[in-house]
């Protein structure tokens, strides 16, 4: 009898200890879960802030005017809210940047993944990462004070053209250089994950390195390369400081990269630098501009997701 009681005591004591252990585990797990859930709150917060402020603006301006008006003068007495004006600046500068970054980034990726000796790759990869780590305001300084004068000189001597001091071309070119690391490093990762036996098969058929790289590895890695391009596009569309510094801040509906123009992001910076009262129409326009930007990048991200799904290859 006695021994059984003693054993019961021990068992119940153990159970009590285990129960306290469980409580601690539970508490820690819920804290960690809240940390993870926090990222969802951030997204909800972004959507809520952008939508709620934009909706107040859209009670004042119709969505149709917002999308079709060809003037953007929210701070003037004669106010117009045509987002196309800012959108054109964003699209032109991004196009220039991608015209630089996609060819150069792809060539660098193919070279590093298929051609480069081990040492070159080990040195070049961290170096490219450093290039991507330079603050964008420094690139803006570089575009405005080094690249623009150079382009002005070239335009004047070669074409007799007077390039304005602020232009989308110089900002776009520097932005392209800035994006190269994003494109090249993701593309290279995708190419290196293509299994070796596919390359070996290609070599066995007598193909050269170049033929293997272009006809076998690149198509096989296409979903990853497309993801890299999409990342590059999102970076270009969302880039702010290079454009705010080097492309000027005057809204200008143009498709010509030689002209100065404000982008969506540059407009937000311009308004934030002034002191607009909270709740004014001007204050709300930057949220509508931000919403447009967000929808634009979201669209590209969804496109990237679909591309990845469509072209994913299983080995």
């Amino acid at each position: 009898m006695n021994t059984i009681a003693a054993e019961e005591d021990i068992v119940s004591d153990r159970l009590r200890r285990r129960a306290s252990r469980h409580v601690k585990e539970r508490v820690i797990e819920s804290i960690l879960f809240l940390c993870a859930l926090f990222s969802v709150f951030v997204t909800v917060g972004i959507v809520w802030v952008l939508l709620s402020e934009s909706i107040t603006l859209f009670q004042h301006v119709s969505v149709w005017d917002f999308l079709t008006d060809t003037q953007w003068t929210p701070l003037f007495d004669d106010d117009h809210y045509g987002i196309m004006v800012l959108l054109s600046g964003t699209l032109v500068s991004s196009a220039v940047a991608l015209a630089v970054a996609i060819p150069l980034g792809t060539v660098i990726a193919i070279y590093l993944s298929e051609f480069a000796p081990f040492v070159v790759r080990e040195v070049a990869k961290p170096f490219l990462e450093l290039l991507g780590g330079v603050p964008t305001v420094v690139y803006g300084y570089f575009a405005l004070l080094y690249v623009t004068p150079l382009l002005q000189y070239l335009a004047l001597t070669l074409f007799g053209y007077n390039l304005p001091g602020f232009n989308l071309l110089s900002a776009g070119l520097v932005m392209g250089i800035m994006i190269i690391p994003y494109v090249s490093s993701l593309s290279e990762d995708a190419m290196r994950s293509v299994p070796m036996n596919m390359r070996e098969g290609s070599y066995a058929m007598g193909a050269t390195r170049f033929q293997t790289a272009v006809r076998v590895v690149t198509p096989a890695a296409f979903s990853g390369i497309a993801a890299a391009y999409i990342l590059g596009i999102s970076r270009a569309v969302g880039e702010t400081m290079i454009l705010a510094v080097a492309a000027g801040m005057q809204p200008n509906l143009t498709w010509n990269p030689l002209e100065p123009a404000a982008t969506i992001t540059a407009f937000i910076v311009q308004v934030a630098l002034g002191d607009l009262p909270h709740g004014s129409i001007g204050y709300q326009t930057i949220f509508a501009a931000g919403l447009t930007l967000m929808l634009l990048t979201l669209g590209f991200n969804i496109l990237g997701h679909l591309l990845r799904r469509r072209f994913r290859q299983a080995y």
Partner: protein, 307 residues
């Protein structure tokens, strides 16, 4: 007949080899464009900015006269903002990553969180600025303060910290976990005593890269309304009298390094451009040394740990 064929084949091979060679040249040239641009940027900035770099440059406030202007308020502001960013982003980021890797059950909620983290990494930084302007500055009433800026940048680097921590945790072989469980350790004991210590170098790398990015971010901090001309310092965080710590600096207005540089760059006078170059040099030095530190930590990690 046969000899001619072999000759043709050799010519064909040679032609293809030439293509190989030409493409390798293209690759080197493309790499060089990146390298040379960076060199031009750095050398040009060094030529313009180095003469301005002196002790006074670090201990002077910004000024209307370019030769007296310095970056004291900017680097102090950057340091304090980074402090808030680190305190905000590191625990939440690491906690989220640990949950997703070690705890999360396979269900819809986990999927939503994972997709969400991926998407957050792609949100343009200026949108975080708008979020902070609407939420921190006006809804929560933190104002245009160091606290708002630090939290904003903390949200910005959260995905970076989460992704780096997850990758680091994922690279730990499951035998480590199984060994711990076999000895009766609970999940948290396993995580705290084994998973976190072993993945610490990888987590450090992620944190350093995230902080380096936060130091250089300009747009979100401008958006919440940081001032460009600040000629005073926030209250000191440490004081001689009880309770020794002072949190008034959290609500102080501030400026940071990239904003100071932006301000000098956008002035028309060339003398201020020299100041911008000097500030840029300091900024590039800060971010590059942090990135280099991250690369070094990763290199050491790869060298030392063999499972």
């Amino acid at each position: 007949m046969l000899k001619q064929d072999i000759g043709e084949i050799r010519a064909l091979i040679l032609k293809h080899k030439r293509w190989d060679f030409m493409f390798a040249i293209c690759g080197v040239v493309a790499l060089m464009i990146g390298v040379l641009t960076f060199a031009a940027l750095f050398v040009g900035m060094a030529i313009d900015g180095l003469p301005r770099l002196s002790w006074d440059f670090f201990t002077n406030f910004p000024s209307r006269r370019s030769e007296h202007a310095g970056i004291l308020s900017a680097w102090v502001g950057t340091t304090l903002v980074m402090l808030v960013t680190a305190v905000a982003a590191i625990p939440v980021g690491v906690g989220a990553a640990v949950y997703l890797e070690e705890y999360a059950p396979k269900n819809i909620l986990t999927d939503i969180i994972e997709i969400n983290v991926t998407n957050l990494a792609g949100v343009p930084s200026i949108v975080y600025g708008l979020l902070a302007l609407g939420l921190f500055v006006y809804t929560f009433g933190f104002g245009q303060s160091i606290l708002s800026a630090g939290l904003t940048l903390g949200l910005l680097i959260l995905p970076v910290v989460i992704v780096a921590t997850r990758e680091s945790i994922r690279s730990i072989p499951s035998v480590i976990r199984e060994g711990a469980y076999a000895l009766g350790a609970t999940k948290w004991q396993t995580t705290a005593d084994h998973i976190l210590p072993y993945s610490a170098p990888g987590i450090m790398t992620g944190i350093i890269i995230g902080m380096a990015r936060a130091i250089g971010e300009t747009a979100p901090v401008i958006t919440i309304g940081a001032l460009t001309f600040i000629a005073f310092l926030p209250p000191a965080p440490i004081q001689r009298t009880f309770p020794f710590f002072n949190f008034d600096w959290l609500t102080s207005s501030f400026t940071v390094m990239p904003i100071q540089m932006f301000n000098w760059t956008s002035r028309p006078e060339a003398a201020f451009h020299e100041n911008a170059a000097a500030a840029g040099l300091v900024l590039v030095f800060m971010t590059l040394s942090m990135n280099a530190m991250a690369i070094y930590v990763r290199y050491r990690l790869r060298k030392n740990i063999k499972w």
